[in-house]
Symmetry: C2
Subunit: 408 residues, 2 copies
């Protein structure tokens, strides 16, 4: 079917021909409400009129940046990669991915489970909600997705097929290259220039060549290292959560890239939340809890990644019997430590780019009091700098916590 | 046109419809002779009967390993990548690539310049021919090909298009993964098992876990690091040479991989030739010349790569003005040193795999006297081991020569 932008009326008409969706609603009359608060796409909630709890989500990409308008073109092909990533991730470990009822790459749309008992994790964290199961869930998600889409698990040809499927996500990869690794660290029109202007901290950052050179090394790795299929934008706004369940959504930035990038993105966002509470709410208990889940998530991630590896005997990389058991274990331990190190490096880039770059996070840019916001920014930059400069020497999660705590 | 295997008769008929080829011969009557001594493909020399010096080469891939027969299938798509690589390399720097007159991916064939004044470099080196221009030529070739197909030169989207074009060369990449990095270092049916059997040196190699773990790290990088478009099999048998000209041929293993792999392949083959002369001919002067061109080629490669970089101001990686001049130079110097280090690591893998692996080199496996051959093998393994274990600490070309010389 040829691409056509849907609206609140035509969306119901469109769905009439999709059997799996009609089956879900069992013949009920339907209503559609636009609920998207996103910047990029149109999102409709489709519900049964008789039984409004019976509902699905329809998300359609338009060929421009929705929050700006048609004068800011952005290829709707991003939905192609979101669909492929949702399906791939679901096939590996369905627990953490919304069920997809229907998807069309031609129409750039996906119909999926409506998560009505869940909120965006960032909001929960700002409101100091404790999620006891989060580190367990997210470490399984990350270990499974990264391990089972890597050359440690796939055959050489399966890996190349995976790369083929995601290599075309050029436009969104380029956004990351520019907006995470380059523009936020130099004078640029996309920055939050109201804050940059006459700001000595911004000036210091832009001329911090030691930091920027390391960021460039991490950018090069981002552009050239195809370890595994990444979500590509795994901040706490891409997680829907409640006390029992964790869902990872919106993988439109998905591509085959370096292991540490997703892990680092999440680490960065947890630390940004920690900074918020240390400057704004002063809730020491919540900060302790955040440090605890950072440690848990990183340690469990490593453990689970190694467990998946333990169960895998042949892959593109490893021919069974090539190494003896001791050497193999040694190799694996070094391997996972390198993932941790890269993650810390990427976390540093991701934290720093939120300070003056185009896309801030609510925890920091949302602080209304300018003095407090400047304090939070300075703390974020301090931790980010330590992460970036020291990441290659990190030995374990405790050293990461030490950097965070001693920066205050 | 649908694929059809050509023979000595049908090849002339096929060429009748190809204007550029017919123009080259200017209406002369043609003859075809099969001249291929290759293992993989059919190669015909097409000449004018009136003027036999007027000649072109037609090379066609068949969907099996030619030297074994139809019972060993090997996708003829390898010619697709050879064609694409020849065209890409030619577009960057035509001096070192044969002119392509016609190519058809459907027919898996290419018609190109006949290099009648050139010999396979390996034969020249065995016969102790001095090529005064070689290091100048090959360093330009390598620096240009690697730099201008990397993210240091291409935009983010150009790089992804390049990956797209070569990502499908799965079968030949897999051959390298198995036959360069894995099977030659363990008991395997593909090895030269007549030599492996009851050979204490082979036993020692197969149980050398320190060496094999490092090889595994290099294999992982080969599989996941997409720095630049590689030839993929750049040994001295892939170079046609005379005193004035150097041509690089047969890029059917081409793919986007780590910078150091091609440089390392050539280094390995020059060192293998050095070993041959140090064990067999004892020609000290020729050995000195070999060491001299190794040093020259590596140093000139680095210098030219940096020169190309100096002329490039915007790329996928670098936004102009992001770093100050001193830091940028520092970054570039570290970058090129890392290429050198990887090259030494890959050279070690490539030397070691020639000893017991399926594909030997004439310089070593061709030594008829078994005692001398064993001596050459031991020397190759000794240098290879040093290369692999020490490559991450190499500072310059002199340290590489030192390893080679002190191993004797």
């Amino acid at each position: 079917m040829e691409y056509k932008e849907l609206n609140r009326e035509s969306v119901l008409n469109y769905l009439k021909d999709i059997k799996k969706v009609m089956d879900y609603f069992g013949g009920d009359d339907l209503s559609a409400v636009e609920i998207g608060d996103g910047n990029l796409n149109y999102v409709y909630k489709i519900s049964s009129i008789k039984n409004p709890k019976k509902a699905l989500i329809l998300k359609q990409a338009v060929p421009y940046l929705r929050c700006v308008g048609e004068e800011f073109p952005l290829g709707r092909e991003r939905m192609t990669y979101e669909i492929r990533a949702l399906q791939k991730f679901y096939s590996i470990f369905p627990n953490f991915i919304p069920v997809v009822y229907y998807a069309s790459e031609d129409m750039s749309l996906v119909v999926m489970e409506f998560l009505d008992n869940h909120i965006i994790m960032r909001k929960g964290l700002i409101n100091r909600v404790i999620y006891e199961n989060f580190s367990e869930h997210i470490s399984t998600y990350m270990a499974a997705m990264l391990f089972y889409t890597s050359s440690l698990s796939l055959s050489s040809s399966e890996k190349r097929e995976l790369i083929d499927k995601f290599n075309g996500n050029t436009e969104l990869c380029k956004l990351t290259e520019d907006l995470v690794f380059s523009f936020p660290f130099m004078e640029h029109e996309t920055n939050d220039n109201e804050n940059v202007k006459d700001n000595p901290d911004a000036k210091k950052l832009f001329s911090d060549m030691e930091f920027k050179e390391k960021v460039l090394e991490l950018k090069y790795k981002f552009m050239t290292q195809n370890d595994a299929l990444l979500h590509g934008d795994l901040h706490t706004g891409s997680i829907m959560i409640n006390e029992n369940e964790t869902y990872v959504i919106d993988p439109e930035f998905a591509f085959v890239g370096p292991f540490g990038f997703d892990v680092g993105a999440l680490l960065a966002n947890l630390v940004n939340n920690y900074i918020h509470h240390s400057i704004v709410t002063h809730d020491e208990m919540y900060q302790e809890w955040l440090l605890k889940i950072i440690k848990e998530f990183l340690e469990k991630f490593s453990e689970k990644f190694l467990n998946f590896w333990q169960k895998t005997h042949n892959s593109g990389l490893l021919v069974d019997g090539y190494l003896d058991d001791i050497t193999l274990q040694n190799y694996k331990n070094k391997f996972i430590k390198n993932i941790l190190r890269d993650s810390v490096g990427y976390a540093g880039c991701k934290m720093a780019r939120r300070v003056y770059g185009v896309a801030g996070v609510e925890e920091i840019r949302g602080i209304k009091d300018k003095t407090l916001r400047a304090k939070a920014e300075a703390l974020a930059l301090k931790i980010a700098r330590e992460f970036v400069l020291k990441h290659e020497k990190i030995e374990n999660a405790d050293e990461i916590l030490e950097i965070i705590k001693s920066a205050r």
